[in-house]
Amino acid sequence: MSSSQQTGGIAVVSLTGGTGRTTVTANLAATLASGAHRCTAVDVDPQNALGTHFGMSPAEEAGLVNRSGLYRPPATSSRVSYVPFGPGRDVARAEREARNDPRWLRSRLQSALDSTTDLMLFDTPATRGVWLEQALEASDTVIVVLRPDAASYATLPALADLFATFSGKRVAYVVNQMDSRSELSRQVQQALSNSLGRSLLPITIPTDEAVREAHARQRTITVDSPGSQVTVRVRHLAEWVTEGTLLEAGFDAPRMP
């Protein structure tokens, strides 16, 4: 993509914890970066956990909220550039700035990312607030990560409210950590399909211990276990997202089985 074209922003969202949102963001970023895209993963969640998938030390000082500068490490083993959120002591000041400027995140990144970045993936907090809203403001595409459980299902009304406020985005939902042996999981997936229709992507990411093992090795599963079903499904998600984002295919035209 040439520098004259706008960088696509993709927010990865959920309104309950434990859905695997950060892991999906990291794996999706790694998959996109392994293809033709210059992808930067941006941690917009004060938990500051995204970078740990890419080899970042928990003691890392630099980040989005750090006034002294963003941290853009060179290509890691997964070839992903990433921006950590930054240390906790800088959060209050940055939060004040962000509350006063709805485009704070966009401006902050614009000055830091080079013109070859064509995709930005935002990891977001699980609560509605200034950081989630900043990420949505900077995104044209939203991926909602749901677990096939009642807690995720119960967030659908709040998600609908959220997207009524931030309208005009392409919104797609994906089920993560699916255990097809569980009857409850199957029933929730069916209920999600009935409620969301074609907004629920026909790509389900299975539960797999290898995901947690890859994280413990500070790697994405796409690098650590390239033949796994999770890697395959994330690749499908990446293909679909890329078409939706760059080719304006629209989120109502899924093509994956």
Binding site: A150, Y153, D161, Q187, Q190, A191
Partner: protein, 78 residues
């Protein structure tokens, strides 16, 4: 999709050379009726499946009610 019963096909003339004179529009009409019937069946089937899960898991049911209320309010606003 299987749309027509054998009786419907027979009475429509679609399977009978002897009744070729029957207007093609009768066949089209029957196909449309069958399409609508199949679609309705599918909707009911999905609704039943969903109701089954919702009855079993109260949090799903409560969420369905909240979504329905939200839709209702949105329609009112429009």
């Amino acid at each position: 999709m299987a749309k027509l019963t054998a009786r419907e096909l027979h009475s429509s003339g679609a399977d009978s050379d002897a009744q070729d004179a029957r207007p093609a529009r009768d066949v089209q009409r029957l196909l449309r009726v069958a399409d609508a019937r199949d679609q309705r069946y599918e909707e009911l089937h999905n609704r039943e499946q969903r109701r089954g899960a919702a009855e079993r898991w109260p949090l799903l049911k409560a969420t369905d009610i909240a979504l329905a209320m939200r839709r209702h309010l949105s329609e009112d606003e429009r």
